[in-house]
Every structure is written in structure tokens, then in C-alpha cells.
């Protein structure tokens, strides 16, 4: 088990390194290649050559890309120092540099947006798991009945709906026409749990609906497969109550494959639910990233991409471990 764990850890680290390298390369190399100097992005409107030179020197844009990457990595592990004029500011590890647009330290900036994304992702996750799994199990047990058909049709519709459409539609209906919900504007949980809830309910539902659909389909398929398994028949042959047969023997193995999917989905979401956040104006990581991309604010783009990748890799890791925990065959193999 330990060896297994260590192997996965090493993999994770390597993946992260590659992600940083690729991302860094793309965002700092391509712009240069197509003739737009990062220094210009940094300096923005007014751009007198002297200033550009100054910036390039200060930010080290003149160094070869590898050197820059090195410094960047160093910043993440050890932090780095920036000349800010009168004195030197130390950017503590994990340092992702300073935003071109606002000169804010990137790390705290992103950490500020994290709660939004977290609230959105986790809240939605709870919803969609309950909704999706319940539906899936139900239609698996009622296979071929009307319930099953109805559920699966809805699910198919669900996976076919673009969130940036359902999102708009939802707010058009519930916010503007029925006025059941307030205009979306994120309120921190710490500030006012009630408003936090109302501010997120619509995004949650929209996002959850999409995923629930997928999960319902998945769960159904898995359950049908499991119900056909010999050990389920054995369970019945033992005289166990149907409740126990389904609830303990069938579900346990029927839902295991979902763990993988769930882990990855959640991981991906934690990196910023780009579409949902932008449709609902939630100032989370995804929203931040989009803004940054518009302003070519490289450090932020890079930062978000990194965090996103981190979550995905991390999720992968967790999934592997959970899997090992659930399935002795994996653990003891």
C-alpha cells in the first residue's frame, strides 16, 4: 500500500511540473513569438521604450525562458523578491508573482476567490450526487418501467443542455420574471449564511442538473451490471432482505466506479467552473481566469491554471487512495 501511495505521489508531482512547464511556455513564449512583449502587457496603456526596458529588466522578461521558468518555480517553493521602487518586497512562498493589471500578489488574490469556487463546486456536488445516484438506482431497479424511461429521457436531455443556456434561462425565469430569487451576487458564508445560500442556489441547481444527468446514466448502467453479478444472487440465496441485498451488496460495488468520475469532476470544478461562474457572475477562480485572459494578465492565468491542475491531480490521487480503500482487490494486489 505504501509503495503504491508513494508511486502515485511521484506521478502527481511530475504531472504538476509538466503542467507548469507547458503553461509557462505557452503564456510567456507564444506572446513573444507573435511579437507582443510581456513587458507591454505589464505596462498597459502608456508605453515609452525606456519604461518597457525598465520593466523587462525588473521582471526579468529578457532572461531566456528557461531561466524565467526556474525563477518561477523557485518562487513557488521558496518565494522570491521583487524590487518595488523604494525597497524590495518579498513575495512569500508559494509565490505566483504579481498581477500585471493590479500589482496585487497573485497567491492571496486567488485564495480570496477560492471560497466562491469551493462553495459553488461542493454545494453543487452534494446536490448532483444525491439527485443523480438516486435517479440512477431507482431506474435501474425499475428497469424498463415508465419511471425508468422518464428518468433516462430527462437525463439525456440534461446532458444535452449547455450550462450557459440553462443558466441564462434559469435566471431569466426565477430572477427576472418570477422574482423568486435575488440578483446573483456572491455573499460569503461567514458574512451571512442565508444570503450565501440564496446567492448560490441557482448556480448550484443549474450546475447540479447537468452533472446529475450524467451520474444518473452512469449509476443506472453500473447498477444493472452489478445486479446481474453472481454475488448478488448469492446474497439473495443467503436469505438476506432485499433491502440489504440492494443497499449493502449491490450499491457498494455498483457505485464504486462513480468514485473515479466524481473525483475527477470535482477536481476539475475546483479549478474554476469557468462557464457557470461567468454566467452567474460569481467571482471565483474561473471568472478570475477569464478576466485575466481578457487583460492578458499572464501571472493570474498561469496561477489559475496551476491551481486547477493541482486540484485535478490531487483529486486523482485521492481517488486512487479511496479506490484502494473500497476495493480490497486493488489494495491487496
Amino acid at each position: 500500500m505504501l509503495a503504491y501511495l508513494i508511486r502515485r505521489l511521484i506521478n502527481a508531482v511530475i504531472t504538476l511540473l509538466v503542467v507548469t512547464a507547458v503553461t509557462f511556455g505557452i503564456f510567456f513564449a507564444i506572446p513573444k513569438a507573435i511579437g507582443s512583449d510581456p513587458a507591454l502587457l505589464y505596462i498597459g496603456k502608456q508605453s515609452d521604450p525606456a519604461a518597457i526596458a525598465g520593466i523587462s529588466a525588473k521582471m526579468g522578461f529578457d532572461d531566456p525562458i528557461v531561466v524565467q521558468y526556474g525563477k518561477f518555480l523557485k518562487g513557488i517553493v521558496a518565494g522570491r523578491d521583487y524590487a518595488n521602487g523604494p525597497d524590495v518586497t518579498h513575495c512569500p512562498a508559494p509565490c505566483l508573482g504579481y498581477s500585471f493589471a493590479t500589482d496585487q500578489e497573485v497567491t492571496p488574490l486567488l485564495l480570496e476567490d477560492l471560497p466562491v469556487t469551493l462553495s459553488l463546486a461542493l454545494g453543487a456536488a452534494v446536490l448532483w450526487v444525491i439527485l443523480g445516484v438516486a435517479t440512477g438506482v431507482l431506474s435501474a431497479l425499475r428497469r424498463g418501467t415508465f419511471v425508468d424511461r422518464a428518468a433516462m429521457t430527462t437525463a439525456l436531455a440534461g446532458v444535452s443542455l449547455p450550462i450557459y443556456f440553462t443558466g441564462l434561462l434559469a435566471s431569466a425565469i426565477f430572477v427576472y420574471w418570477l422574482e423568486w430569487l435575488p440578483q446573483g451576487n456572491y455573499v460569503p458564508f461567514t458574512e451571512n449564511p442565508g444570503e450565501w445560500f440564496t446567492s448560490l442556489i441557482l448556480p448550484w441547481i443549474t450546475l447540479a442538473f447537468l452533472f446529475a444527468a450524467t451520474y444518473a446514466r452512469l449509476t443506472r448502467a453500473n447498477m444493472l451490471e452489478t445486479l446481474g453479478e453472481d454475488y448478488v444472487r448469492t446474497a439473495r440465496a443467503k436469505g438476506l432482505r432485499e433491502r440489504t441485498v440492494i443497499g449493502k451488496h449491490a450499491l457498494r460495488s455498483g457505485l464504486t466506479p462513480l468514485v473515479t468520475v466524481f473525483g475527477l469532476d470535482l477536481g476539475a470544478l475546483l479549478g474554476g467552473a469557468v462557464l457557470t461562474e461567468s454566467v452567474f457572475n460569481l467571482r471565483g477562480l474561473g471568472y478570475q481566469a477569464l478576466t485575466a485572459i481578457r487583460q492578458s494578465d499572464l501571472p493570474i492565468i498561469l496561477g489559475v491554471t496551476l491551481i486547477a491542475a493541482f486540484f485535478i491531480v490531487f483529486a486523482n490521487l485521492v481517488v486512487d487512495l479511496v479506490y484502494g480503500w473500497i476495493d480490497p482487490r486493488v489494495r491487496l494486489a
Binding site: 496603456k45 521602487g85 456572491y186 461567468s278
Partner: protein
């Protein structure tokens, strides 16, 4: 930015100010039916006079914005609303008067106790500071603080993003590197500015420059206490010389001001300082902001770039709401530069484009009469001295494309069947892209095949602003917008039309107008101290530019803004093209 369109509309300032900023604006232009009566609120009333005049102090002013400040550092902010907000905490030697209409364009002594004494040769400006001026921490505001603040403008490697006029006038070959690289012990090594004593500051120019005072009125010319300067980080806690000081700054979320206990009303002829506190909330949801405005839970959108389409409909269809709205000119002109890229190097080909462009289609694409603005007829917007509202050389006001005229022009330029051209628009400016589409469509009618190239708006200065790149990419038409940093013909037109302003990077004379006559006229104007005489010169320059068909004016930019009825002393300030924030108060004292 799924909300691309709205972030734009919302953060209009951002776009507006992408290039340059601090719109001059408003102006008592004919088509706004602002009443001249008793300060009662009507549609457009605040454009020409003070709505709900009052001296009631107290209460909290709830400002909102869908766009964060580019920087609270006076020397780095470049958005119009940020310059306007700077009046709350940054004083300068001179500042714009607190009054509606043309009166607002007058500069009056602020930190200075009186107008400067100007030497006979118009080269030496001597200011005396008022006595008893204090920073928010109680320390005295000295002439050295003023000089230090001005010096920071040179340190572009640290203080990036702000306007860069002063060095052009005051460096005079010293090649000063800014205070951070200053070898002088007191960091006050800039030679052309001297501070004989703590209350005196002297500027020495190389040649007469009639607009010099306007440069001193920019926030970047305000004082900065050297011991509190944190360089690049100064924007996160700027010192306050004005009536309010920051109590909190949350980037991207909020900013809060409270009264500055060390500010003495007696020392400040400009600022009213009515509310006890001022809160600025930054939201990501422009529609939310509009709803709050209309429902009265927010007082004002400091962006002042107009409400969203939904709110616009409500405003214009509901008389009571409409009575609390204004649609002032923002001081921006939306237009297209026609570059020397063939065939645009041919005046007749350029004329063809101007005639073929459908004024109404473009106006509607930009949002129509109120959200877009009036059809533009020349390069000089109505609010700048020397402009003439009736000057319409290409007969655009009538609103139709003039196909026959365009065909004639095409024939004249030797391309009777039209030609191919590339329209460049910034990809992060929805309105400009829409404009480009509309233009493309109307050019097609006369056989001019335009293709639209969207380029990275964030690097505008390196693409649209680089003649070399423009040539390389073959941009014949560049969609842009322009507002002056200070309200004079030179402040507005010189960067656009003076051949000496063409730079390798960050160029704004994108038509690359190289007309010695025009250059000379600018010099004459600079030497001319009588504004009236200068105005006639600017009229002349405007004519020359239009006759050369260098630019295609689209609209004189307007924004439909709503103000909370409880606001007092609401009036549009000419130099910003938006309400004068420092004058506002709240009637209910809450």
C-alpha cells in the same frame, strides 16, 4: 467574460480609457433638454445645473461599480472615474472648479493659495502653498511632497500605467530616472522643479506651454509623502491630502473612505465633503448594479458609462425613472483611423469609406442615441473650445450612407469597383467589434471588401499603436476611441494629428498624419495664451484633418446614467463627463 459584452458595457470606462482617458465631457450640448429651473430633477437636468442643491452634511454615500479602479495610486490610475474619485483624497496645486457646465473646465488654486506667478517669458511658474495643510496623519504637506509626487511619474518601471506628460515638458534632457533611482540624498534630484522653501515650488519650462497648468491638475501631479511611499504598492494605502482617507481597500471588492480629521475645510475652496463616509462596492454583475440603482439601494454607478440594455429600456419607458437620469457626453469620440496602408494612403479612397459608412447602422450598433451617442461629424467633440456642432463636411448628420458620392470617390481614387481593406478592432471591446461589423456591412454595398481582424486589446499600444505592426498586418482602418486628458484642442488633437507625436510604440496618431501645416498650427496654439484665439486655431486644425479625410468619425460618445433621487448637489462635471463625485451628498442623512 462570458459577459464579455456586459463586462464591456459595464466596465465601459476600462475600454473607454484603454487608450487615454479622463473624458472631457458633457458640455451644454443642444440636444439635451436639461431644464434651467430651480434644480428640480428632470431628464438631463444635471448636465446643465445642480440638482437638489444642499449643504446638509452626514450620511453614507453608497457608490457602486462593475469595474475596479486600475489603481488608487494617483500617479498610476488612468480611468476617468478613478481621476474623479481622486478628488476625494488627492489635492493638487490646481484643480478643476466644482461647477456644472463650462465653468467646471476652469482651473482654480487648490493646494496653491493663489494663481502662480508666471514670468514674463512664460517659462517660470512659481506656486505658493496654503498654510496649515496637513496629511491624514497630521504631518504638514510641503512643496517637497508635491515635487516628490511629480518625480514619481518618471519612475515608469515602478509607477506604470499612468499618464506620462510631465516628463515631456520638464525632463529637458536631464534624463531623470525617478526618485527610486535618484542619487540625490533627499531623492529630489529633478532639476527643473525646485522648492526654495516648504511652501514654495518653482517650475522652469524650456518653451512657453499654455496647457502646462492642466498637467498639474492631473492626480499624478498631486503630493506624495516620501516616507510613506511604498512604490509599486503605494496604491494599496495612498496618503490622503483631501477631505477623505481610505479606511479599507479590498482589491476587486470594495473601497471605503472616512473623513480625514486633518483636512481643514477653510483651506479647500473646491470640495464640499458632505457625507460622513463613502463606500465603493465593486460587483461582478452589472445587471445587479442597475437593479440596485433603480430600487434605490445604490446611489450611483461610478463607472458612469451607462446602464445595461435591460435597465435602459426601463429608464426610457418610465417617466419617473427617466427624470433621474442623464445622458451626458462622456467626452469621447468614437472613430476610425485610416492608416497609410494602401489603398487607404489615397485621400479619395478614404473619402469613399467615409461616404459609404452608414451613420445610423453604426450608431445603432453602438447602442443608439442614448447609449451610443450622436452621429459624429468631425474629429473635435462639441465640448472642446473651437469645435463647431454644425461643421459636417461629409454630410453625415442626415444619417444615410451616400452610395453615389462613395462611388464617385472610388472612381477618383482609381478603384471604381472597390478594393480590399482590413478593419482592425480590439477583441476585448465588444462595441468596437460590433462597429467593425456594421462598417464592414455598409462598405460591402459599394464593393469595398473589408475583413475584420480582432487583435489583443490588452496589447493595443504594441499593435494598433505600432506603425510597423500596422503596416505588417495591413490594417487600413483601425477602430478606436479618444477622449482628452485635459480639455483643450491640443490636449485632445495633438496626439492624434501632430506628426511629432508618431511613436514606434503606443502611437495614437494612427492615421500617421504628417502635415507640416498642422504641426505648425499646434505650435502657434501652444504659444497662444488667449484661449479664445487658441480656439480659432483648433477650429482650423479640425478642418484640415477632416479635409484630409484621415479619420471616419462614428459617434460622439454618450452614456445613459441613473442617479439616486436622494443624491444632493448632483451635476455633471465637464472635465470628467460624469457627475462630480466630491460634491455629492445624501438628502436623508442615512
Amino acid at each position: 467574460m462570458a459577459r464579455k459584452t456586459r463586462v464591456l458595457a459595464a466596465s465601459g470606462v476600462a475600454l473607454a480609457l484603454g487608450l487615454t482617458t479622463a473624458a472631457c465631457g458633457g458640455g451644454s450640448d443642444s440636444d439635451n433638454k436639461g431644464s434651467t429651473s430651480n434644480g428640480k430633477s428632470e431628464f438631463g437636468a444635471a448636465i446643465t445645473n445642480v440638482v437638489n442643491p444642499s449643504t446638509t452634511k452626514g450620511g453614507t454615500l453608497n457608490l457602486w461599480s462593475s469595474q475596479d479602479a486600475d489603481s488608487w495610486d494617483p500617479a498610476r490610475g488612468y480611468y476617468a472615474f478613478v481621476w474623479n474619485l481622486n478628488r476625494l483624497y488627492t489635492r493638487k496645486l490646481v484643480d478643476y472648479a466644482a461647477a456644472p457646465g463650462q465653468a467646471g473646465l476652469k482651473l482654480q488654486p487648490d493646494l496653491a493659495e493663489a494663481e502662480p506667478t508666471i514670468s514674463a517669458d512664460k517659462l517660470t511658474y512659481t506656486f505658493k502653498l496654503r498654510s496649515g495643510l496637513k496629511w491624514d496623519d497630521g504631518a504638514p504637506i510641503t512643496s517637497k511632497d508635491v515635487k516628490y509626487g511629480i518625480e514619481r511619474v518618471w519612475a515608469t518601471d515602478v509607477i506604470s500605467g499612468g499618464p506620462y506628460y510631465l516628463p515631456n515638458v520638464l525632463d529637458q534632457g536631464q534624463n531623470y530616472k525617478g526618485p527610486y533611482k535618484d542619487t540625490a540624498p533627499d531623492k529630489l534630484g529633478l532639476k527643473t522643479v525646485t522648492t526654495p522653501d516648504d511652501s514654495t515650488i518653482v517650475f522652469k519650462l524650456a518653451k512657453p506651454y499654455s496647457d502646462f497648468m492642466y498637467l498639474l491638475a492631473m492626480p499624478g501631479s498631486g503630493p506624495v509623502p516620501q516616507k510613506r511611499d511604498t512604490g509599486a504598492q503605494y496604491g494599496s494605502k495612498p496618503a490622503a491630502s483631501g477631505p477623505y482617507m481610505f479606511s479599507e481597500i479590498q482589491p476587486g471588492k470594495a473601497a471605503k473612505w472616512v473623513r480625514n480629521p486633518n483636512w481643514d475645510p477653510a483651506s479647500d475652496p473646491i470640495r464640499k465633503a458632505l457625507p460622513d463616509a463613502i463606500n465603493l462596492t465593486i460587483t461582478t454583475n452589472a445587471d445587479d448594479l442597475d437593479n440596485r440603482l433603480l430600487s434605490g439601494t445604490a446611489d450611483l454607478d461610478v463607472g458612469q458609462t451607462g446602464v445595461q440594455a435591460a435597465a435602459r429600456t426601463k429608464l426610457l419607458t418610465d417617466p419617473t425613472l427617466k427624470a433621474n437620469a442623464d445622458a451626458p457626453n462622456t467626452g469621447f469620440l468614437r472613430f476610425a483611423d485610416m492608416t497609410p496602408v494602401a489603398p487607404m494612403d489615397n485621400a479619395d479612397c478614404r473619402k469613399a469609406v467615409i461616404y459609404a459608412a452608414d451613420p445610423t447602422a453604426i450608431q445603432t450598433a453602438r447602442g443608439g442615441e442614448f447609449a451610443g451617442g450622436d452621429i459624429g461629424t468631425s474629429i473635435l467633440p462639441p465640448n472642446i473650445a473651437g469645435s463647431d456642432a454644425n461643421y459636417d463636411p461629409y454630410n453625415r448628420k442626415q444619417g444615410k450612407a451616400q452610395v453615389d458620392k462613395a462611388k464617385e470617390a472610388l472612381a477618383a481614387c482609381g478603384k471604381p469597383n472597390g478594393f480590399d481593406v482590413t478593419i482592425a478592432a480590439r477583441n476585448n471591446r465588444a462595441a468596437e467589434v460590433k462597429t467593425a461589423e456594421a462598417l464592414q456591412a455598409s462598405l460591402k454595398v459599394v464593393g469595398i471588401n473589408a475583413k475584420i481582424d480582432q487583435y489583443d486589446g490588452a496589447t493595443d499600444s504594441a499593435i494598433g499603436g505600432s506603425p510597423e505592426i500596422v503596416k505588417k498586418r495591413g490594417y487600413g482602418i483601425i477602430i478606436t476611441g479618444w477622449g482628452a486628458d485635459y480639455p483643450t484642442g491640443a490636449g485632445y488633437m495633438q496626439p492624434l494629428a501632430d506628426s511629432r507625436f508618431i511613436t514606434k510604440n503606443g502611437n495614437f496618431n494612427r492615421s500617421e498624419i504628417k502635415d507640416p501645416a498642422i504641426d505648425k498650427l499646434f505650435d502657434d496654439a501652444a504659444a497662444e495664451t488667449d484661449p479664445a484665439k487658441a480656439a480659432t486655431i483648433y477650429t482650423e486644425i479640425n478642418k484640415k484633418i477632416m479635409e484630409g479625410a484621415y479619420v471616419l468619425p462614428f459617434v460622439v460618445d454618450k452614456a445613459l446614467n441613473y442617479r439616486n433621487p436622494r443624491l444632493t448637489n448632483a451635476y455633471v462635471h465637464e472635465s470628467f463627463g460624469m457627475l462630480d463625485f466630491q460634491a455629492l451628498g445624501v438628502s436623508d442623512g442615512k
